[in-house]
């Protein structure tokens, strides 16, 4: 039977999404990962930056060493100054749109203490003011007065909880808990003919820093970043065709040809697309453009590593609630599993063009 994503995997995704793991403070997700993969891997270690590096060896001769990377960190906040009465100045960590912050609930620190980011009442604003973005300096994280447990330095995340609705998943941090859950499942149901080098990385959102040292340590034959990519598939305001959608929900996993950090190895593009075509697994090509994944660091490791990225599309990345389709995640897992199962060293001997 083809391994697939079922209720147990969705349950794990929920736990992962609801965990707090801002770049540099990934402990909660790290603990979940280590607990999940224990007994399914030949080796596991936590490196100097906090990456979880796990190896699961395959069977047979001449096995490729394939590094798969999924980042554990999410965008979030750090409290930087205590102004008293439960009010804290904060900074954002990772790429965030300030327009997404006012009026949101957050969870602060390891204790997941509730807090809110408010905004000036509309009654006190002028029309002119409402045309301007609310600057970060005007926002506070408010946890209520009289709590002395929370100190500057604490991290905070959006408080929204994982939810399913029809074909959709609504959650914070789908970028990249989708990838983390995928990678956990690949370790549990591994394709046989390769050595699977799984890197659950830290600090992706602030510059692919975990992947950089993980790729050096693993020294793989090829690298695949398993991530979540924005689907910008909303209607254009003036009714014109949306030609800059990046990816679309429902069209399957997004195979990268080129993003802002990496030109994918064309042999790997053909291998993944060919697998999808042969096995009738839906996939889409991510529109070549900006952005970046762990592949941006992996392909430059040591003497260079042929690399590619595969992402599950999701809307409203880096906000309080992203929206993804369960079907796209299932197909991401199916495509990766099937492609890895048919991977042989010959791929790296093939023509690039």
């Amino acid at each position: 039977m083809m391994p697939t994503i079922g209720n147990a995997q969705i349950k794990l995704l929920e736990k992962l999404c609801n965990a707090s793991a801002v770049s540099g403070d990934e402990g909660e997700v790290r603990s979940l990962v280590v607990e999940q993969i224990k007994g399914h891997v030949d080796e596991v270690k936590v490196d100097a930056l906090g990456n979880v590096l796990a190896t699961r060896k395959g069977t047979g001769e001449k096995r490729l060493r394939v590094m798969l990377s999924a980042h554990m960190d999410e965008v979030g906040f750090m409290l930087v100054a205590d102004e008293g009465e439960g009010l804290f100045r904060f900074e954002t960590i990772g790429g965030m749109d300030l327009r997404q912050l006012p009026g949101k609930a957050v969870l602060v620190g390891r204790e997941h203490l509730p807090g809110v980011i408010g905004a000036r009442p509309i009654h006190l604003t002028t029309r002119e003011e409402r045309r301007q973005k609310i600057p970060l300096e005007a926002l506070r994280i408010d946890i209520g007065p009289g709590n002395d447990k929370i100190k500057p330095g604490a991290r905070a995340v959006f408080a929204t909880r994982f939810q399913r609705s029809g074909p959709a998943i609504l959650s914070k941090a789908l970028d990249d808990r989708l990838g983390v859950a995928t990678l956990v499942e690949l370790l549990k149901q591994p394709p046989a003919g390769i050595d699977l080098l799984a890197a659950f990385t830290v600090q992706e959102e602030i510059g692919l820093r975990g992947a950089q040292v993980a790729a050096y340590a693993f020294n793989p034959d090829l690298g695949i970043a398993v991530d979540a990519t924005p689907a910008l598939d909303l209607p254009d305001w003036d009714g014109e065709e949306n030609v800059s959608y990046n990816t679309r929900l429902g069209a399957g996993p997004a195979i990268y040809i080129a993003d802002g950090a990496t030109y994918s190895d064309p042999r790997l593009v053909r291998w993944l697309a060919g697998t999808g075509d042969a096995l009738k697994i839906p996939y889409q090509f991510r529109q070549p453009g900006g952005g970046g994944t762990d592949a941006g660091a992996i392909h430059k490791a040591r003497a260079g590593v042929p690399s590619i990225s595969v992402s599950t599309p999701h809307r409203y990345s880096h906000t309080a609630i992203s929206v993804a389709r369960l079907e796209d995640w299932k197909n991401t897992f199916a495509l990766l599993h099937a492609a890895l199962a048919r991977l042989t060293p010959e791929i790296l001997a093939g023509e690039r063009a």
Binding site: G103, I122, G144, L234, P235
Partner: protein
């Protein structure tokens, strides 16, 4: 207050947008039924509860009103399964992107069950030039439920309501955050007042009113005060608490008691009586100076019929008209207690003692 918290949290989880208050009204009605002698609905949907006084008939009556309607959004159109929205009540579009909402879909096959969704801000290239890096106009935002377009067409109708979905959260220092605390915090204060009155004899009749349509122009209170024709009225609403974005004279510290308004909207003798009572009872409070319109149901109530002597009280609230409004539970309790004490203090000759310009 511990008993009121579950009631308030339940009330905050109900939609009850302006003009569609029934879900909130039902919860309030259940809570009030054992606390009043008669209960009915006004012509515009306000809830009227009567506690009869002990004085001889015909007795004077005091209306104590708090609006129960909340702000939100309404569906104006559907494009490729995405919902276009317009505000119900005063909404700063800048607090909406990324906000969890519930769409109350009226389509037959779905009943009126709530669909989870989020206010979606399209990516820069899908917006007009001037909104690419600046606040996005409400008409360019969408609500996304994640459902497929054909399902949305089946379930959602133009005019369907969209409510904030932020669940109420208890913060430190006995504060509570959530949507629609404006003005359900005051409904809770009014409920606390009714509970206090169970053990306090009062000569006057008390009309407890949870009014409708305040956020769209104080419509419910206007109809209720005309219909009930109280001798005097106390309106309780939220006011600005000191905090981010509100630091000046018009804002009051959170948790330091309710405010008693002073200005043309308020009958000076009532104002003086309540202030003196608060001082006598040592109930923490502050004076709120309202040079013209209080922006509450009191403004409409005062000019109802031949005119009604009106008092306006406020409960300080942070982040008004966002999904994370914030209030101190103590202030709710104190406002409720002060109202109850005031009502219990009203003698049958109270009105005769009011003399202008003395």
């Amino acid at each position: 207050m511990t008993e009121l918290l579950p009631f308030l949290k339940e009330l905050l989880s109900a939609p009850g947008l302006s003009g569609y208050e029934d879900p909130a009204a039902r919860i309030i009605e259940n809570k009030w039924r054992p606390l009043v002698h008669e209960i009915s609905r006004g012509k515009l949907g306000s809830l009227h509860g009567l506690r009869s006084g002990t004085g001889q008939e015909p007795r004077p009556s005091v209306m104590v009103a708090a609006h129960m309607d909340g702000i939100g959004m309404m569906v104006t159109g559907i494009t490729d399964g995405f919902l276009r929205i317009t505000p119900v009540g005063g909404l700063d579009g800048r607090v909406l992107p990324g906000t969890p909402v519930t769409v109350y879909a009226s389509g037959t096959s779905g009943g009126s069950s709530g669909l989870p969704g989020v206010v979606a801000q399209p990516s820069a290239r899908l917006l007009p030039q001037e909104e690419q890096d600046d606040p996005v106009a409400l008409e360019h935002l969408f609500v996304d439920t994640g459902l497929l377009p054909r399902k949305i067409t089946e379930l959602v109708r133009i005019g369907d309501l969209v409510s904030f979905a932020q669940p109420p959260v208890e913060l430190s220092g006995e504060t509570l955050s959530g949507h629609s605390l404006d003005n359900r915090a005051s409904v809770a204060a009014l409920t606390f007042c009714l509970e206090e009155l169970q053990a306090r004899p009062h000569a006057w009749d008390v009309w407890a009113v949870a009014s409708s349509q305040e956020e769209v122009g104080t419509k419910g209170a206007s109809g209720s005060s005309f219909e009930l024709r109280p001798t005097i009225a106390i309106v309780v609403d939220v006011t600005f608490a000191k905090g981010p974005g509100a630091s000046e004279w018009y804002a009051f510290p959170l948790g330091k008691g309710p405010v008693i308004a002073l200005g043309p909207n308020i009958h000076p003798a009532l104002q003086k009586a309540m202030k003196e009572l608060a001082e006598k009872l040592e109930i923490p409070h502050a004076l709120e100076f309202t040079p013209t319109d209080t922006g509450t149901d009191g403004w409409a109530t005062q000019v109802s019929a031949e005119g009604i002597p009106t008092l306006v009280m406020g409960i300080p609230l942070r982040y008004m008209h966002t999904a994370v409004e914030m209030v101190a539970l103590k202030d709710i309790q104190r406002a409720g207690r002060l109202m109850a004490e005031f009502i219990a203090s009203l003698g049958l000759d109270f009105m005769e003692k009011i003399v202008w310009d003395k």
